[in-house]
Symmetry: C2
Subunit: 413 residues, 2 copies
């Protein structure tokens, strides 16, 4: 008899919605579409030559280890390299504070697995990163949304959220995906203090922190937390779980990211990872270490910054020129995304349909809102397309937006 699979699935699968990011990645594969939809790095900045040299060296000198099973925590020299980088860039840590994961999405999944019981509340920014919602929906999370403005989460509205007893607070302080906003220093400090007062941990997701194109680097939330607690001699043991990745600095195809957390949390995450996939590719860890060990990343990030800054500037210029006056958008100081806001009553999903007819794509913003709303918003990526492609794509989007705003009169249907 035919196997009735649908009667076998676990309850949690009912929460797994259609996969927005995946469908979008499929769109970007059509070569005639100008896609501002994905969150892809520019392939032009992948350090292909350095990878070739690193692969050859790793296989010649460490083939037996790099191709073998490895420990779950990750390759120790790579963890020590990340510890040195993090100590300079974000907060003082040791290798015992670090777990290597197969991309930051896996870190988000493990955090869900470690903390979330069905029905637990998580505080998120509104809008927030779609991939985090997808990861945590699988564990039956519910969300308390805190509004944002151009300085990030409106921390004055956080206390009401904390009084509801959430499991943790999720923030992307630098050039947030999707909004491009950066959390101000004053709000970071207040966030740390309030989280400590209520005993609620913070998950700080920082994939883009080094991709700043103007303004001063702001201290990370994990650093402010460690300062708030005072010295404890070596490794970090505070209230923040911090995520970062090689996907934006090196290449996403490696699937290499890391979690910084107190050692007791790392030990639990290691147990989680062991049951989930044993360990992240040892070969890729050796290669990333070989590429990065001599300080290459410090130089390489300058190339990435210059490339993306130009693209951001071109996009902002073109939007000033081509977009109708009813449109508003953010001017991010770094990262990979702009956030567009149409007049209330407009529907970005409708706009996308019209845009696809003109062979240009973006992400409608509703999916980034954990508790609804945002139908009039959109995420626009500026890192992937060349300046000329950006010019053409924004011109097309401008045409579509003007047509639809005209059709809808003043924007109210």
């Amino acid at each position: 008899m035919q196997t009735p699979w649908e009667y076998r699935y676990a309850h949690r699968m009912q929460k797994m919605g259609s996969s927005v990011i995946r469908e979008l990645l499929k769109l970007t594969e059509q070569p005639d579409i100008i896609s501002f939809a994905g969150g892809l790095p520019a392939p032009e900045v992948f350090p292909v030559k350095e990878f070739q040299e690193a692969c050859n060296t790793v296989l010649a000198e460490h083939g037996a280890q790099a191709l073998q099973y490895s420990t779950t925590e990750g390759y120790r020299p790579l963890r020590e390299m990340i510890a040195r980088h993090t100590s300079r860039y974000a907060v003082e840590v040791t290798a015992d504070n670090i777990l290597i994961t197969s991309g930051s999405q896996q870190a988000l999944d493990f955090i869900g697995r470690l903390f979330i019981n069905r029905g637990d509340y998580i505080v998120v920014e509104s809008p927030t990163y779609l991939g985090a919602l997808q990861a945590w929906n699988a564990y039956g999370a519910q969300y308390i949304s805190v509004r944002m403005d151009e300085h990030g989460m409106i921390v004055d509205e956080l206390e009401e959220a904390l009084r509801k007893g959430p499991k943790f607070i999720y923030v992307l302080p630098n050039f947030q995906n999707p909004s491009g906003s950066t959390l101000s220093l004053e709000r970071r400090q207040k966030l740390v203090e309030m989280a400590d007062r209520y005993g609620v941990p913070i998950v700080e997701d920082d994939p883009y922190g080094q991709l700043r194109y103007e303004g001063e680097h702001l201290p990370s939330v994990v650093y402010l937390d460690s300062q708030y607690r005072g010295p404890n001699g070596g490794h970090y043991s505070g209230n923040v779980i911090y995520l970062s990745t090689f996907s934006k600095l090196l290449a996403p195809g490696l699937r290499l990211a890391w979690v910084i957390a107190p050692p007791e949390v790392i030990r639990k995450l290691v147990m989680t990872k062991q049951a989930a996939d044993l360990h992240t590719s040892s070969f890729n860890q050796y290669v990333a270490y070989e590429v990065g060990k001599g300080g290459f990343l410090d130089e390489h990030v300058k190339v990435i910054r210059a490339t993306y800054k130009e693209r951001r500037d071109v996009m902002l210029e073109m939007m000033d020129e081509m977009f109708p006056p009813e449109m508003r958008w953010t001017r991010p100081q770094g990262g990979m995304f702009l956030w567009g806001m149409m007049p209330e009553g407009m529907d970005a999903a409708e706009v996308l349909k019209a845009a696809l007819e003109r062979k240009v794509a973006f992400v409608p913003g509703a999916a980034f809102h954990a508790n609804g709303g945002g139908a009039n918003t959109m995420r626009i990526n500026f890192s992937y397309s060349s300046p000329d492609t950006i010019r053409e794509g924004i011109t097309r989007m401008g045409t579509v937006l003007k047509e639809l705003l005209h059709k809808n009169g003043n924007g109210n249907k």
Copy 2:
């Protein structure tokens, strides 16, 4: 204040026991220990030269794609290559039957996530693969154990288990980890028929199927299931989810494995993987395809078979010579493991302590038993150590076993 992390963890973490495999991998890292504990391939058979050539070709010709984000299903040419291999080796499938996973451990995790509600029963062999128990414990699985003999699961005892309403049946038909037993053809057929009658799916885990050193290749369970159902024109849509991996044919450090399942199950697994880690390393998928596309694996597996057959034969010879007459052990026709059985009343954990003093290691068998028992059993790996090391290690184990059996009289404490 200090963050009270232990009050934040989800209920499911209480089921996460200490990580036996990880601790064992740590043991094998001590260079002066002869370890038969791990399940490691011999590094001597890693095709390092072929990897170097493949890395260079992939980076030169496909750098922009191989280092970029990719689709969740996996790299299509690799899935098509696996489909051709599987159609020759196990059952006729298409790329739509295939999901690439980050090692088979991830496939086991996803199967748990897709099917297991807290308290659900899973039918397992006794003993069974420890990694599957670790993966499914996280979802609150309970187990119905079915006994094995030298011909695999005693299928006559399966009906009683099926009447308890399990979610699925988990079997490792070829050279099982840990016992080394192979499920007979007659039992495979009966397993397929009974699973169909009760409407219970089968998960067939086949990491070692190609590593046969004597005897005839037996049809896979998924093939027998497809025969039982008759032709359906192209892709497989039966009752079996089939797992295999590049870890034993190519290198485990790549973390590359695959799931074969009906397309509707693959679609659900893709949603699961998207939330869990987006996709498996695109670079590693390109490299594996580049290494394998010209038929290299068919030649390479002959080298692996010859290497492991010699090691198995040396180990069996040495056991005949050095082990006390009270010991019994399996004579596997393939794979990587032997299963040792001491007299009832002996405790393999005690033996391991004494063995470690003599710098030799194995895995006590109790951990492979989902519902207790097996304290007198042990798993012994023969693939990793050279023949000379095997001679020395089995000699040491023989000494330890004789001492302990002598101390315990006839083996009853």
